[in-house]
């Protein structure tokens, strides 16, 4: 199939950036979206042009590195699918496809489609952990965890930290990301001692990183490749209120 891609090109963080159109011909419908870009890049290199820089690594939908807004939708038109798992058969011959980077102040563009997501790491640093120094752990079976809690904790923990939620959010908010980690660690008994400080510190880090606030619009969960549920944001809010109360008493 033959398609056209309009790709965001930006040489570095100081450049203003622009959309540039490329024709890509003879693409197999079985190729993934990233493989289509590989083909484009091979051609660009041989033509003496600068290939399109984009983040990718595992190419099996789990590392969270790939990050493209395709036709206005983070990770493209297929639900619950990362860009690397999106295949060209979902497009039609002759389509014009717009490809842009995640756009958020907290995720500055490094080059073309590559953005800096270290703001997410800073949120985790602020409290997205359970303090358990190596060697100090009690026997694993000493604390049973109700299956229901364990399953919900797992569901929250499947977040791959790709940042699609931020890219899709009309407010550029990272609430779904933060909420997923707060829920995961708040649902297991080992996470209780730090539950209050965790939510307060992580939210502070999120606000300070320059993300917007949540308006419960729900676009994050729509594009989330792992389908992290919006209800977790309610959990975070409840935890936050409780933490505020406890910190004032």
């Amino acid at each position: 199939m033959d398609i056209q891609v309009r790709v965001w090109r930006q040489t570095d963080s100081a450049d203003k950036g622009r959309m540039v159109t490329y024709d890509v011909k003879d693409i197999s419908p079985d190729a993934s979206f990233l493989e289509m870009l590989d083909v484009l890049n091979e051609k660009l290199i041989l033509d003496g042009d600068d290939p399109v820089a984009f983040d990718h690594d595992c190419r099996e939908g789990i590392c969270g590195m790939c990050s493209m807004v395709i036709d206005g939708v983070a990770h493209g038109p297929e639900r619950a699918t990362t860009t690397c798992q999106l295949h060209m058969r979902h497009f039609a011959d002759g389509d014009v496809i717009d490809v842009e980077p995640w756009r958020a102040a907290a995720f500055p563009v490094i080059k073309d489609l590559v953005v800096d997501r270290t703001a997410f790491d800073r949120i985790i640093q602020a409290g997205g952990y359970i303090t358990a120094p190596t060697g100090a752990a009690p026997e694993a079976h000493s604390v049973p965890v109700p299956k229901k809690d364990a399953d919900l904790a797992f569901e929250a923990a499947t977040c791959i930290g790709c940042g699609a939620c931020v890219a899709a959010c009309p407010n550029g908010s990272a609430m779904l990301f933060t909420a997923a980690k707060v829920a995961h660690l708040g649902l297991v008994p080992q996470g209780q001692p730090e539950r209050d400080t965790r939510v307060l510190d992580m939210l502070q880090a999120q606000d300070d990183a320059g993300f917007g606030g949540c308006t419960n619009a729900g676009e994050c969960t729509t594009v989330c490749p792992k389908g992290i549920p919006l209800t977790l944001i309610g959990r975070l809010n409840a935890d936050y209120r409780k933490a505020l109360r406890n910190s004032n008493s």
């Binding site: 963080s13 959309m19 540039v20 024709d23 502070q204 308006t215 936050y240």
Partner: protein, 253 residues
Amino acid sequence: MGQGLHTVIAVAVDTKVPQAAVASKAALAPSRKRTSSVLLKIIMAVTGITLILFLYLHMIGNLKIFFGAEAFDHYAHWLRSVATPLLPRTWFLWIQRGGLTVAVIAHIASAAILARRARAARPVKYVHRPKVQGSYAARTMRWGGVIVLLFVIFHVLDLTTGTLNPVGDKQHPYANVVADFALDRWYVTLFYTLAIVAVGFHLRHGIFSAARTLGQQTARGERIARASALVLSLVLVAGYLAVPLAVMTGLVD
């Protein structure tokens, strides 16, 4: 790589270039700790719920118009004597007005801070605008809120102070209302309707959002919250639109 893959490069640079490509370092790491966005949302939720309660009480009062001029005017006068003799006359009304004003200001101030942050959080807009995936109501909270605010200002000048009312007789609110929605003042009715519909949309998302902000967190609860939001906003819109409709159709005159 595969033969026959001709990639022709048609350089068609878009003319529309967004302003700044990257946020400044300062925007990334503000030295001052920001007020929690969740705290601001809680303020919005609590003040919002307060205002909804008021809107419902106000609506019930409005509907007294269907019992005739005497009943309506009597109700309006009674409002000034609420809580007497514990409080002197009209004191309760002023306290309530003060409370509502504080709520409105807190609601708007929080919204303004959050709106400013949201704008700063995405300094470069998408060239291909994202499809609207959330509800229309969620997308129109801010502009809907502005419309409602403008209306409230007009409404106070119209039916509270009587400044903009053609009758403006504080002793006879029934007459004021009927005069307001007269056919030749169709623009008032239109503005009123627009504002009420805006309130409806605002609450359709606002009620759900408030519940979520205050900690609603189950899938079942979410269904209930969304359904309640729909029902409560529909009832409110119907209740408020009944009055001008009745005046225009001559049911009330």
